[in-house]
Symmetry: C3
């Protein structure tokens, strides 16, 4: 898209060459062909060194730029608008079942459902109106997928999985895999046995949930593993069997929740954090990145960090230990010298 | 299923409304339509507040319940039996190759093998009697899959991978991907090079192994990456090239084992733990959650925790440091005051 | 392969039985049928206890072996050569599109491209000369794949993803999934909202990049998430939206890079490390295993470790704290006793 065309759409004015623009990018990451933006003169140096071909600037910008300038009222806002124009067009997933898909005759598909190539939908599954099931998806027996839910390629839903309405399930997500459960011990003859505990429950996902790429949610031992409404899960997260996430929570990348744990409403579990099994995290609690939570958090502390997790105050004190110990060491040395003097004086 | 019908099957007696029941659930997580259970009067409060439609209770329960009651001899046992009835029926994977599957003519399929839709089995692969290969699986050239092994949808076995008998391989597992290995340095002209080291070995999985969703096991540089019999691996675990897990061990979710490390018999590697490469973990050792093990554990300590991993006693002492330092600080302050007094008295 | 045949190929001399050999393995892991190797007499005990059927040894080895011996000039080198002979033959991916693949008529395939069974290539995608796209891959609208890039089975490239030349993308990799981004707050009526921020950018992968199994790289919010040339990424790594990895870096298994962070040239991010969002890691910096990096590393420290990450010196001091505190405790106890004596003497 020509810079002039873009300026016109954005209600801005172009200064400099009418360059061809193909993408948006931050001032530092931008390359020739990119449009960048700057709102605040304090970033003038980044503007001066940008490799963008054009930059969106405020109307009253007085510092110039090493490329074409498009002056607008609000550079941030204009950049988002431009980004939408540069974005790869969202693929149209028109209603209909691709001829290569294998849909069991007993499965029920609502109005306007899209089913992509090489997708398998097994018997008794129910796909509600407007749902999009992309290519190479596996939907097992008796699964239910809610209205307008979007399932990206190569997702698997094992038998009995329930997904609510308006969910987004990204590539490679695994719902309903067996939970990890084994009985083991020794037989009378001394030999060891390890026996699988049947995982008889299901996974149930509430409305408005988003689940990131390659995340796994295990089916319950009995009953259900439950991800409540509006929960937003990032990539590569692991949710154990019988976990209950009440809803409106965020679980960031590579975090893990062990079996039978309950996460309250409005919690935020940061990246790579781990939460033990059979405990509860109270509503609104945040668990910091890489934290390890071994026991129930009752909400008296709103943010925990460290492994085992503690309050920011406790964690901060722990971080300061080397300094405190060094100071104590010096003080003790001084005291010993004084003591020697006192004793020598006797 | 009607509560009366369930009571009859379980040899119990129904009190209250003959409700329709659809699932099992713990007292706290149960919803209308659910059957719950309680064995011990100490949980009477949970019974009183449950939202289950019926609850399994001991014959001599005297506290009532806010819903229908089914009295049985052993509520836990009865609940497991009920759970099996509520469980989504296990899909039948009848012997036969789905017409959409692509099986190379040189591949050998045993008696009673099931091959699901859109599965690819390449040349020279051998699938033993009774194995189930579900939909959308990829089995590369020369792979071998043992008797009665069950491979769930969307698993990939790269060329040469060997899987034993009676294994369960969950959705999205990747066996035989290249190990991570590069040579790098500078050429005579000063330029940097990074060169791939060919990964010429294979992955070999013993009998009775279970591998959780989206777990990855890398092929050996030379020889084999080996997962010994009865090892149970959870979801999202990473096993590096040339790792040897002797057998009868558990590797919990999101743990990682770096290249060429050996895990002994009967070990338990807890969630998110990381084990360095080229070391050994002795038989029976447990590595705690999020622990980091930088060197060989010879078995003199049976449980390690922390990063770098240490014994529970050492870890406990470390956790107590802030308290100990605060106490020392007060004592030193007191000593300094006393010293000042002593010196002042001179 | 017969030991005699192998000896002949390797220019070595066989002593002992002309055994059949099927694989290579280290001295300790080798099993009957394996060929092992030893260069240095200091490992003579491992040779004595190996279960290999034959072992490659230096010409002047004088300690014997419990199996057949093949004497060669350089046992390590000979073993690599043997490993190549034992390796499962690399599958041939001949030029051509498998008849079951679904390739949009508007997609452009270069010379000699291989497209495997059940692969989907959507409209406008461009696959350059010599690229190999294996089975069950999904390549979304407008994606570009460079020359001689090899994409293994069951990879997904969401719309607009760009992959350079000579890349290797392993099974289950997800490129271009939506980044994690939500606005949330309370409406005037007090109700909570969580709103998806459109992820309008793309993922761009440079030349010579290798990405391990089940790794995920999120598309940018705007602009691009960028993985620079020759970057080598291991399995189960998570790369957030708008991350920029300049190039020639390594990211080891299960590490994670949060959104908008920049990784310099020649960095090494070890396993399970986590790097916060919106920061920079200077060229050549190494982040140790399980380290957590909360803020920019300017390169003044070349290796960081711990969480929060610090220098090896600081980390080492922290590790020594329990010993230092125990020593201080003893010294303070002694001082208190001395002080009591001094005061008692008054």
């Amino acid at each position: 898209m020509k810079a002039s065309e873009l300026a016109s759409v954005l209600g801005g004015s172009l200064e400099g060459e009418d360059v061809e623009l193909v993408a948006c990018g931050g001032l530092e990451e931008a390359r020739p062909g990119d449009l960048s933006f700057c709102k605040d003169p304090k970033h003038v140096r980044l503007v001066e060194s940008t490799k963008a071909s054009a930059v969106l600037l405020p109307r009253d910008w007085s510092h110039g730029a090493p490329c074409s300038i498009i002056r607008v009222d609000d550079p941030n806002h204009a950049c988002m608008a431009a980004a939408k124009m540069f974005a790869p067009p969202e693929p149209v997933r028109a209603p209909g079942v691709h001829p290569s898909a294998i849909v069991d005759p007993s499965a029920k598909l609502g109005e306007g459902v899209h089913v992509g190539p090489f997708t398998v939908i097994e018997k008794g599954a129910v796909i509600a109106d407007g749902a999009v099931i992309e290519a190479q998806v596996f939907i097992g027996e008796g699964c239910r997928v809610g209205r307008h839910t979007h399932i990206y390629p190569q997702v698997t839903l094992r038998e009995g999985t329930i997904v609510g309405a308006d969910c987004i399930i990204h590539c490679g997500v695994r719902l309903g895999g067996d939970g990890y459960g084994f009985n083991n011990g020794r037989r009378e003859d001394g030999s060891v046995f390890i026996e699988k505990i049947p995982q008889l429950g299901i996974v149930e996902i509430g409305d408005g949930v988003e689940i990131g790429s390659n995340t796994t949610v295990d089916r319950a031992r009995i009953g259900r593993t439950y991800i409540g409404p509006m929960t937003k899960i990032d990539s590569l997260v692991q949710i154990g069997h019988n976990v209950k996430v009440k809803g409106y929570s965020g679980l960031i990348a590579q975090s893990g929740i062990a079996g039978s744990t309950e996460i309250g409403y409005g919690c935020l579990i940061w990246a790579q954090a781990g939460i033990s099994g059979h405990i509860k995290i109270a509503d609104g609690v945040q668990v910091g990145p890489q934290a390890g939570v071994p026991q129930t958090l009752d909400g008296s502390v709103k943010y925990v960090i460290g492994a085992p997790a503690e309050s920011m105050k406790e964690f901060g004190a722990r971080m300061l230990l080397p300094k405190m110990v060094a100071k104590l060491k010096a003080e003790v040395k001084e005291l010993k010298a004084q003591m020697a003097a006192v004793e020598g004086a006797k």
